[in-house]
Amino acid sequence: MNRSTAALRQPLWQRWWPLAASAALIVFVGATLQLMIEGGLVSPFVISPPLEVVRSIPQLFLEENLTGLFLLTLGVTFAATAIAAIIGIPSGWFLFRYREFGNAYESWLGALFSAPIILLYPLFLVIMGRGLPAVMAMSILVGVIPIVLNTYNGLRGVPKVLPNVARSFGMPEPQIFWKVLLPAALPLIFTGVRLALIYTMINVVAMEFLISLGGLGFLVGDLYDRYELPEMYAAVLFVILASILFFSGINRLERWLTHQ
């Protein structure tokens, strides 16, 4: 019985409960804010009334090219995370395979992971120019670190008995990696990819905001400067939406790969 069949056998309310609970929370928070603003507890010039934010969304599509900017942020984030994964997973394997390097660099990577790399953005602008390459390079750098660390730790955490059994059956080393080690380490590798996605997305939006270039981050900054507060909050909602889309996509990819 596969997972989708099992899901179909769940009662209807159980299948829809998470979605309904999420929608109810959003409505509750929105309604509470609306009431607080209408009651004068919160200034509408600081936080826009949720209803106004929702009403401003069509204007963003019609006048601010929201579709293009949304796709740009989505595309840059996806590309940076994908490149980070392409670099990070083999690098993590390298540190696992050659333990001397793993022992030497793990603490360095850990320190770099917690460093506010975004503060280096002027340096990247100088080296790469004020454009997409600088945004991509910084985003790849912040994304690659959690993937390397989690791949390394995921592979290290695979019980030794698993590859040993495979070897006892005469399985060649490349197959042991693809058929045993990698699948066993996959959950932790995906945790790394999820973290990379978070950091990459934050970095992309922050860079767009700081250098007034590109997608949703640029739009949020521009709307703030123009004092279009409802539209600005609506644009922030689309940043959150982009994040939700990515998470949903990664969860599906992880489920698919696990089944393979």
Partner: protein
Amino acid sequence: MRRNLVSALLGVAIGIGMAAPAAAADLVRVASSQKGLWDQTMIQFGYDKGIFAKHDLELEILWTDGGADAQQAVIAGSMDIAVGTGTLGVISAWSKGAPVRIISASMTGSSDLFWYTKADSDIASFKDTGGKTVGFSRPGSSTNLIASALVADAGTDAELVPTGGISATMTQVMSDQVDVGWSAVPLGLDREAAGEIKIIATGNDAPGVKDQTVRVHIVNATFLEKNPEVVERFLEAFQETLEWAYGTDEALQMWIAMNGLELEAARAARDRGYPREAMELFPVQGIDRSLQEALDNKRLDAPLSAEQVEEMLADSVKFAESVGG
């Protein structure tokens, strides 16, 4: 006996009277940005000199990242007054009903801004910028509007490029990523003196900019409603600060301590970038041009009527009469 008792009570009363603290000065929370630039730091100079205290005002100064943040702090009510915020931003916020009022001009003209190239560049003026790149800070900013006007006036096809802040722009110019960069006095003047860069235009070279108030002082509407007399005293103190800052070298000495300039270089930078007439508090000038720019840059949804403009500037007109200058 009775006389002694009365004398004792009188003595106690006088003692209490003398021990009671003097009436506290009125606290005004002021937001400013770009600490180190002459006009934006004027509030600190006046405060340090004790001019505001003389007017019975105690200041709490907050330094923000930019004029938009200072304006937002005033709108939110966390600060009472913001000095030197962009006129277009204020027009935008006011037109949308934000509780903010213009109380005076802060800077008229843009003599503080300048555009430069590397010293060995073949660009001598904006007329030579055909096919070149010209920097500005960020889209919609005053540097963007002025750079556009300078290029349009020169009639070239120069490409306008957002280069960010002053330091980042300087690096891009010196590393040949951008042909023409922007800066604000006094930043970069040391490089000009050292022969590393040459200035090809100032903000005032753009048509119409010289007589346009580009930055204003603003106040939270509720604060103004409750404390009109405090705001008036604030402007009187600011006016006195300006007189002192241009009448003596004391403020220049304070500025030197911040920027590490020599006295004569500092004086030249001040007179070049911030001439006294550019910092007159009254009147707010060139409002038609500002309104048009606000419309062109989507900061206004629709043109303001004459009545609305009059209402928007009413407080500054009122203070011009009471404070003068």
